[in-house]
C-alpha cells in the first residue's frame, strides 16, 4: 500500500521533524516500509500556468501547431506543440525555458522549422497522472505564470508499506490509521476528521434495505442526487495517483479517496437499480457480470448485495455492471458496509479476484467505521460540489457488534515481559495516543481497546505489551542475558546417531549426502521401471509428481543415481530421510526415519560392491553400538529388488533394515553396464539398540597360536558353524584369509587364533580342537585342501 506524507500531515502536524527518519521509525514500530521511498516533484521545477492565446496549424505538419502562450510575462511566448487538445483560451501547464522535467532542462530549440520557447505539458509528463492523451487542462481560477507547485500539492514523499505486514491491522489500511501511528511515534496529537452532520437528514425517508444474512455485519447507506461535478479536484487526483490508483470520475474517485483515507470501502449504485437492498446468499449457483465486464461464477457461499432477488454486487468484492453509475443516473445510493472477513477472503479465493475493497474486508474491518465514512464522504462531496443534495436519511442496520474489550494488568506484568523499566506515564501516554482509553490506579492499569483494534487484533494483555514496546522502540531496549541453573543437555538418541552415521559415511567411505523430496516422483520412477509406490496420498493433489508419499528411500535414490551417471566411475550416495509405511489403527501415518545408501560402480563386479556395502553396515553397528549384525535372506517385494542376495539386516532378532542388489531391469534403465547395490536402515530402530560400549580385555602375556585351515568349499557358513560347535573358549579370533573361486574347485582359508590369558598353550590341545572342526566338516563332505 502506498502512502502520501502530505495526506498523513492532514491529520498530524509533523513540522520541524525529519520525515524520513519518522518513516524509518514507523517501519521499526508499526509495519515494514519498502526501501524505495519516492520523492514526488523532486525533479520538477519551472512549470507555470499558461493560457493559449493563439493556435495556428503548422504549414507542413498535420499534427503540430504553432501557439502563442501567455505565461504571465510581458510578452507572449512562441511554442510548437503536438497535443491534439490545444485550443485558444485553454489554460495548461507550461514548462518555461530553464524548467526541469526529470533529467530534461527545457531550452529554446527549433522544432520542424520554428523556434519553440518552452513546452506545454501533459499530466503524465509532470508525473501527476498517467494521462498523456493531451496537455493538462487547468480549470481552477489561478493567475497566469503561477508555479504549478504553489497551487497543487505536487511535492510529496510517497512510501510503500508491505501489505503482508498489515494482515493483522485492519486499522492501518488507511491514511488516517497510519497518521495515528505517526502521531504516537512523533508524540504529536492526531487531528479529528471533519464530518457532515448526518442527523440533519433524519426527517428524510429511509432507504429500503435489509440484512438477510449473518455474513453481513453492518450495512449503512445514504442517497443523494444532483452531482454536477465530473472530474475530481487536481489535488485529490494527484493523491490517488501517487497512491497507485487511476482517476476515473469524480464519484468513483471520491469512494476510492475515502477508502484510502479512512479504510472503509464504499460503493455507489444507481438508485434505480437498488430499490430494495437485500444482503444474502443464494441457494443456486449462477453467473454474474461485474463492472469490469467479466462474467463470474457465483456459488452458494458467496454473499451478494441484491435488489430484491436480483444480485447487484458481490458483497465486499466488486459491484455489478448493471447497477453501475451511468450518464443518466440521477440518484445515487452510497453503500458503506462491513462483512464477515473469512467469508470475503474465501470468496475472493474461489473467484480468484482480489480487489482493494476485499483486501481490506478480509482483515476484519471495524463496523464502527461505516457511518463516519458516510459522514466524511458527504462532507467532502459538499466541499467539492455544493449542488449536491442528500435525499434520504441515514439508513443503518448494525447486525453484529464486536464485544468491547477491557484489559487490566499490573506494572509487574509489564516489567516481567519487557525486562526493562518503562514508567507509568510512558505507558499511559503511549496507549492514549494509539486510541486506547488507559487509566492507572492502585498499581493496576485498565485499558479499553478502541473499536478499530478490537475486531481480532488486540484481545489479551500480551497484545498491550506489544503496543507499549513497539512505540517505546526495540532499539531503545537495554539487553541482558537470562540466568538459570545449570543442567546437562542431551541430544535425542536418533539425532546423535544420525550425526555419527553421516560422519562415518562421509569421512570413512567418501559417500555423498543428498536431499530429496518426500513424495514419489512418478515420472522419474517410471523412467527406471518403478511403478508400484506408496498409497499415502495428498488430498486433492493436482500434480501426480507431488501426490503420494514415499514408502522407501530407495526409488528416490535410484532416480538420483540416474541423474548423476557420469559423475564418477564409482560413487555412493546416502540420505537420512522420512518415509511413511502406512496407517496405524487410528488412521495416523506411521512415519519412519530411514537411512538409504546406494552404491554405484561402472563395472560388472557386483560382488565386490555388495560386500563393500555390507562392510559399511557392519562398521556402523560396530562403531556406534559395538554390536554385530546378521543377515537373513528374504523374498523380494519391490520391483527394484534383485531376488538373489536380498537380505534383512538383523541385530539380535530385530530387523533393522535391508540390503540388496538392484534388479537387472531397473539397473539397465539406470545404466546398461553397471553394478548398483542398496541398503536401507531404520534409524530409530538403530537408535533403540543399546550401545554395548567397549569391553576391555587385558592382552595375554602368553603367545598366541595361529592355525590356518583351507577347506574345499565356496561357503563360509558351515565352517563358521563347525568352529562355533567346538564351543572352545581358547578361540579368540577367526579370520577369512583367502577365498579362491574357480569353476571346478573353490576354497576358503581361515586363520584361527588361540590364546589363554593364564598360560602358554600346548600344541596338542589346539590340534584337538582343529581336528574336531575338520572332522565335523568332513561329515558334510567339506574336506581339507591339499
Amino acid at each position: 500500500m502506498f502512502l502520501s506524507m502530505n495526506w498523513i500531515k492532514d491529520f498530524v502536524d509533523l513540522s520541524g521533524l525529519d520525515e524520513l527518519s519518522l518513516i524509518n521509525q514507523f517501519s521499526l514500530s508499526t509495519a515494514e516500509v519498502e526501501n524505495d521511498i519516492q520523492f514526488k516533484g523532486k525533479d520538477l521545477s519551472g512549470i507555470v500556468v499558461a493560457e493559449i492565446k493563439s493556435v495556428e496549424n503548422h504549414p507542413e505538419s498535420k499534427k503540430l501547431h504553432l501557439l502563442k502562450a501567455d505565461i504571465g510575462e510581458e510578452e507572449l511566448v512562441d511554442v510548437v506543440c503536438g497535443a491534439p487538445n490545444v485550443r485558444v483560451g485553454m489554460k495548461t501547464a507550461f514548462a518555461k525555458v530553464g524548467a526541469q522535467i526529470g533529467e530534461i532542462t527545457i531550452a529554446p530549440r527549433p522544432l520542424a522549422g520554428f523556434m519553440s520557447y518552452g513546452m506545454c505539458c501533459s499530466e503524465s509528463e509532470i508525473g501527476i497522472s498517467d494521462d498523456h492523451s493531451g496537455i493538462m487542462e487547468i480549470t481552477d481560477d489561478v493567475a497566469l505564470g503561477t508555479d504549478l507547485k504553489e497551487i497543487y500539492a505536487i511535492d510529496d514523499i510517497v512510501f510503500e508499506v508491505d501489505n503482508k505486514s498489515l494482515t493483522n491491522r485492519p486499522d492501518l489500511w488507511s491514511h488516517y490509521g497510519i497518521a495515528r501511528e505517526f502521531a504516537a511515534i512523533a508524540k504529536r496529537p492526531l487531528k479529528p476528521l471533519d464530518f457532515d452532520d448526518l442527523s440533519k437528514y433524519d426527517a428524510l425517508p429511509k432507504v429500503d434495505m435489509k440484512i438477510e444474512d449473518e455474513l453481513c455485519q453492518r450495512y449503512s447507506c445514504l442517497q443523494f442526487e444532483n452531482i454536477k461535478r465530473n472530474i475530481a479536484p487536481v489535488d485529490m487526483r494527484i493523491r490517488l495517483y501517487y497512491c497507485g490508483m487511476r482517476a476515473i470520475n469524480f464519484l468513483a474517485d471520491m469512494t476510492n479517496y475515502l477508502m484510502l483515507e479512512m479504510g472503509q470501502p464504499m460503493h455507489a449504485f444507481d438508485s434505480r437499480k437498488v430499490e430494495n437492498i437485500r444482503i444474502k446468499r443464494f441457494d443456486k449457483e449462477f453467473k454474474f457480470k461485474t463492472l469490469d465486464g467479466v462474467e463470474r461464477h457465483i456459488d452458494t457461499d458467496t454473499l451478494m448485495i441484491c435488489n430484491g432477488d436480483t444480485p447487484v454486487a458481490i458483497a465486499g468484492i466488486m459491484g455489478g455492471l448493471d447497477s453501475e453509475i451511468v450518464e443518466d443516473t440521477h440518484t445515487l445510493t452510497l453503500e458503506s458496509a462491513t462483512f464477515n472477513a473469512t467469508s470475503i477472503r474465501k470468496s475472493t479465493v474461489r473467484l480468484s479476484h482480489r480487489t482493494d475493497a476485499s483486501m481490506r474486508y478480509e482483515k476484519s474491518l471495524d463496523p464502527e467505521l461505516t457511518v463516519p465514512a458516510i459522514a466524511r464522504f458527504v462532507y467532502l462531496l459538499k466541499k467539492f460540489d455544493d449542488q449536491v443534495t442528500v435525499v434520504s436519511s441515514l439508513t443503518d442496520d448494525y447486525a453484529y457488534h464486536y464485544p468491547e474489550i477491557t484489559l487490566s494488568f499490573d506494572k509487574a506484568y509489564v516489567d516481567r515481559y519487557t525486562g526493562i523499566e518503562i514508567d507509568d506515564d510512558t505507558i499511559i501516554s503511549t496507549l492514549s495516543r494509539l486510541g486506547f482509553k488507559a487509566s492507572h490506579h492502585d498499581g493496576e492499569f485498565e485499558v479499553k481497546v478502541p473499536s478499530w483494534r478490537s475486531t481480532k487484533d488486540v484481545t489479551i494483555k500480551a497484545d498491550i505489551i506489544e503496543e507499549i514496546t513497539r512505540i517505546y522502540g526495540y532499539d531503545n531496549f537495554e539487553i541482558h542475558t537470562a540466568s538459570a541453573p545449570l543442567f546437562p543437555t542431551r541430544p535425542e538418541p536418533s539425532k546423535k546417531d544420525e550425526d555419527n552415521i553421516k560422519d562415518i559415511l562421509v569421512k570413512k567411505y567418501a559417500l555423498h549426502e543428498l536431499h530429496s523430496y518426500v513424495w514419489n516422483y512418478v515420472d522419474e520412477f517410471k523412467a527406471i521401471g518403478i511403478e508400484n509406490i506408496g498409497e499415502i496420498k495428498l488430498k486433492e493433489a493436482s500434480n501426480p509428481n507431488i501426490e503420494t508419499i514415499r514408502k522407501t528411500m530407495i526409488p528416490t535414490q535410484l532416480a538420483q543415481l540416474k541423474t548423476n551417471i557420469g559423475f564418477e566411475d564409482e560413487f555412493g550416495i546416502f540420505e537420512v530421510g522420512r518415509v511413511v509405511s502406512g496407517l496405524d489403527e487410528n488412521d495416523l501415518c506411521v512415519e519412519h526415519k530411514m537411512l538409504g545408501i546406494t552404491l554405484y560402480q561402472k563395472t560388472p563386479f557386483v560382488r565386490e560392491l555388495y560386500f563393500k556395502l555390507k562392510n559399511i553396515i557392519e562398521v556402523l553397528f560396530d562403531e556406534l553400538k559395538h554390536e554385530t549384525v546378521s543377515f537373513r535372506e528374504v523374498q523380494p517385494e519391490r520391483e527394484y529388488e534383485h531376488p538373489i542376495n536380498l537380505n534383512e539386516i538383523l541385530c539380535g532378532d530385530v530387523v533393522i533394515g535391508k540390503i540388496g542388489i538392484v534388479h537387472p531391469v531397473v539397473q539397465k534403465k539406470i545404466d546398461k553396464r553397471a553394478s548398483i547395490v542398496f541398503a536401507e536402515l531404520d534409524v530409530e530402530k538403530f537408535s533403540s539398540i543399546e550401545n554395548k560400549s567397549i569391553q576391555y580385555n587385558s592382552p595375554s602375556k602368553f603367545p598366541n597360536i595361529e592355525i590356518d585351515l583351507s577347506f574345499i568349499t565356496s561357503r563360509f557358513a558351515p565352517i563358521k558353524k563347525a568352529i562355533e560347535n567346538t564351543a572352545c573358549a581358547l578361540i579368540k579370533n577367526v579370520e577369512v584369509v583367502d577365498i579362491y573361486e574357480a569353476e571346478n574347485q573353490s576354497s576358503i582359508a581361515v586363520r584361527i587364533t588361540f590364546s589363554d590369558p593364564t598360560r602358554t598353550l600346548k600344541r596338542e590341545e589346539v590340534t584337538e580342537v582343529t581336528d574336531a572342526i575338520v572332522n565335523d566338516l568332513a561329515k558334510d563332505g567339506i574336506l581339507l585342501k591339499g
Binding site: G419, E466, I479, H480, A510
Partner: protein, 351 residues
C-alpha cells in the same frame, strides 16, 4: 722386525684407502687383525726376542694394532656415510602438482549449517530435538494458536494428506510437544525449557529460484519464569553473532505470527556492507530480514500445560535453507534438493 712392522703399516694405510665397501673392509680386518692376520703374526714372531726387545717391540706392535683397528672403524664409518649419501642422492624429486586421487565424501550444505547452529545452541544449554514430518492439524496449527480460518491452514498453502494429517508447514509444529516434554522438569526442578528443533518443512508453492515446497527451518524455544523481550534480543544477537562469526547488529520490527505475542521480524546488519552503507545484497537498506521471533503466545504455553501467568518464553524460527544459501552463496534454492553431485559434492566439510 721393525722394518716389517713399518712395511705392514704402509700396506694397511694404502689398502684402507682402496676399500670401497663393507665386505672389502671386513676382509682387510681379517687380513691384518684376524687370528692368522699379519699383525697377529708379528706378535707370534716375538717369541724369539729377548725380554728387553719383547717389551719395546711389543709396544710398537700393539700401537700398530690399535692404529689399524681405529683406521678400519673410521673407514667403516666413512663408508656408511657414503652409502646414506648415495641413498639420498638416489631419491627422485616428486612432482607435487600431480593432483591427489583420494576420494572425499560430502555433507549436504543444510547438514553443515544445521550442525553449526546446533553446536552453538548446545553450548548455550539448548537440547536438540527431533520430530516427524507428518503431523496432525492440532500439532501444526491448533496447539500453536493458528485460528481455524487462518489462510495458512488453507489447502493451497499446506499439503494435507487424505487421512487429514499434513506435512508440517513450519517447525513450530514441534513446539507443543517440546513444551509438554519438558514442562515437568520446568515446574518441578526449575529447569528452564531450552530446545531447538531443526526440521524439514513443506509448503504448497510453485518452485523457482527463490521458492521451494520443501525447505529447512530451525525452531528454538526458551521458557522460564521472567523471560523477557530484553532476554530475547540478547539471545538472538549473541547466537547470530556466533553463527556468522562476527559481531552483528540486530533490530526487531513488529511482525504478526499467531504463535507469538508480541511477534517480531528480526533483521541483522548486512553481512556484506556491515549495514553502514547499504549494498545490492541488502537492497541498499543495510539490513537483512532473517527470522521471525517473539514472546510465546499465552495460549501456546497454556496448550503445552504451562501457566502463562507464571512463565514466559520466547521462540524463533531460523530459516536454515536461507542461512545455507547466504553462507555459501547458493543462488538457486532448487540446487539444494536437486540431488546433483556436481553441485553438492563440493560441501566436503565446514567445521
Amino acid at each position: 722386525m721393525k722394518e716389517k712392522l713399518e712395511q705392514l703399516r704402509a700396506e694397511l694405510l694404502s689398502e684402507l684407502g682402496a676399500a670401497a665397501d663393507a665386505q672389502s673392509l671386513e676382509n682387510l680386518r681379517i687380513k691384518y687383525l684376524g687370528k692368522k692376520g699379519s699383525i697377529t703374526d708379528l706378535l707370534k714372531g716375538m717369541k724369539s726376542l729377548s725380554n728387553e726387545e719383547k717389551k719395546t717391540f711389543g709396544q710398537l706392535v700393539n700401537e700398530l694394532k690399535q692404529q689399524a683397528s681405529e683406521n678400519i672403524s673410521k673407514r667403516s664409518q666413512e663408508l656408511k656415510e657414503l652409502e646414506i649419501q648415495k641413498e639420498i642422492e638416489l631419491m627422485p624429486q616428486f612432482d607435487l602438482t600431480i593432483p591427489s586421487k583420494e576420494k572425499r565424501g560430502s555433507y549436504h550444505p543444510i547438514t553443515l549449517v544445521s550442525r553449526e547452529c546446533e553446536r552453538i545452541f548446545t553450548t548455550m544449554g539448548f537440547h536438540v530435538e527431533d520430530y516427524p514430518e507428518v503431523v496432525t492439524d492440532y500439532e501444526c496449527f491448533e496447539a500453536v494458536n493458528v485460528p481455524k480460518d487462518h489462510p495458512a491452514r488453507d489447502m493451497q498453502d499446506t499439503y494435507y494428506l487424505e487421512n487429514g494429517e499434513l506435512l508440517k508447514s513450519q517447525t513450530s509444529a514441534a513446539q507443543n510437544a517440546i513444551l509438554k516434554k519438558y514442562r515437568k522438569q520446568l515446574i518441578e526442578d526449575g529447569m528452564p525449557i531450552r530446545a531447538i528443533f531443526p526440521g524439514r518443512c513443506f509448503r504448497n508453492e510453485a518452485t523457482d529460484a527463490t521458492h521451494e515446497n520443501t525447505f529447512f527451518q530451525m525452531e528454538g524455544v526458551m521458557v522460564d519464569k521472567n523471560i523477557s523481550i530484553s532476554n530475547l534480543i540478547y539471545f538472538m544477537k549473541t547466537m547470530l553473532s556466533e553463527v556468522f562469526q562476527r559481531e552483528i547488529k540486530v533490530r526487531l520490527r513488529p511482525g504478526f505470527f499467531p504463535f507469538v505475542e508480541p511477534g517480531f521480524e528480526l533483521d541483522i546488519s548486512c553481512l556484506i556492507c556491515g549495514g553502514e552503507t547499504g549494498c545490492p545484497s541488502c537492497n541498499h537498506s543495510g539490513w537483512l530480514e532473517l527470522c521471525p521471533c517473539g514472546m510465546i503466545h499465552p495460549e501456546v504455553l497454556k496448550e503445552g500445560g504451562i501457566d502463562p501467568e507464571e512463565y514466559t518464553g520466547f521462540a524463533f524460527g531460523l530459516g536454515l535453507t536461507r542461512l545455507a544459501m547466504m553462507k555459501y552463496g547458493i543462488k538457486d534454492i532448487r540446487d539444494l534438493n536437486s540431488g546433483s553431485l556436481k553441485a553438492l559434492s563440493q560441501f566436503t566439510d565446514d567445521k
